[in-house]
Symmetry: C2
Subunit: 201 residues, 2 copies
């Protein structure tokens, strides 16, 4: 849907994206009806279809915006850090801070992965994330900081640890993002054999 939007229109669209994202995360995408969204916002149904072609398009825009925002946060955290391993650590840390502030979007992304209508969009963003990390891993290998291996595979491992810990330690147990990041970084760098830098609790 392409439309010339006034500042007021842009603001309305932002409200819709935000409100819908929270409802979707809370009640699920399919169970949340368009009627429910517009009623919750106190507007007519026409408003929804003025800004979006369909419920599906709305979710796609939410997902795209979320992935863009997360990537921006990661890149801002990395900036021009010269050490590739520190870049990885900062990326993990930034991701956990972002997930802490955007829990509902995490749920939504996880759902989207399981629905064939949205999975392609998620996979695109996932590939970008992997490539980002893999670049730093590759540099770390080239400079002899870590032993050689497929950088993309290692990137997937890092993402897996981060996501898993985010879900349990951060979102479910409410641990501070930096502590979770410490755990994730330590495990990624040294695995089970790490030098006892994990807080034993």
């Amino acid at each position: 849907m392409e439309r010339r939007l006034t500042p007021r229109g842009l603001e309305r669209k932002r409200q819709l994206l935000d409100f819908a994202a929270r409802r979707f995360a809370e009640s699920g995408f399919h169970p949340t009806s368009v009627a429910e969204i517009v009623q919750g916002m106190g507007v007519g149904k026409g408003v929804f279809y003025w800004y979006f072609d369909s419920k599906e398009e709305l979710l796609l825009e939410i997902l795209q915006a979320a992935q863009l925002d997360l990537r921006r946060a990661q890149q801002a955290a990395i900036e021009d850090e010269p050490d590739p391993l520190v870049r990885i650590e900062r990326g993990i840390r930034a991701s956990l801070h972002w997930l802490d502030a955007n829990r509902h979007l995490d749920t939504l992304i996880q759902f989207a992965r399981t629905d064939e209508a949205f999975a392609p969009a998620i996979r695109r963003g996932g590939r970008v994330a992997v490539t980002d990390i893999a670049r730093h891993v590759q540099e770390a290998i080239d400079t002899g900081r870590i032993p050689p291996a497929d950088p993309e595979v290692l990137a997937h491992c890092i993402l897996g640890v981060t996501d898993s810990l985010a879900r349990v330690q951060l979102i479910h147990r409410g641990q501070p993002p930096d502590e979770v990041a410490d755990t994730a970084v330590s495990f990624c760098f040294e695995g089970l054999t790490r030098a006892g830098s994990l807080s034993a609790r």
Copy 2:
């Protein structure tokens, strides 16, 4: 729903569980209608509601059976292996073989995690998995095989790496389960600093 089932009835129920699981994984739980399931099986709608109270109950039974089956596979693989680290490795290996043979169930479990109606059931099974692994980790710590740390946190890391690699390397790229297991085990034990045992591809 409690009903006295003849062998024929039990077989019918098994068919329903299996067929529905595949449809749910392929098209999503909500988009797949009961009508679609019974039509696909060539039976009347009454059959469905003879065996299940609702679509929701059906999914719950699918999830419960899947988690039970996975756990059984893991325990069979571990058997009476004395070395706790080898037990962990065998558990990872068994999980990847199971996920390889039950891809559709993996998708389904992932979806269930995002839906508040099913997430509690998944969390129950997840907690069991964590406790299982954590026990071996604890033993490895006690015998000085690995440095001390919260065993449950480490268990979550292991699960995160395994799940993430399963999704990408196994399901998406079609790599053999044992190769993926090698990668996962190596990363879990030594992280990025592992001694080059990861196949560089």
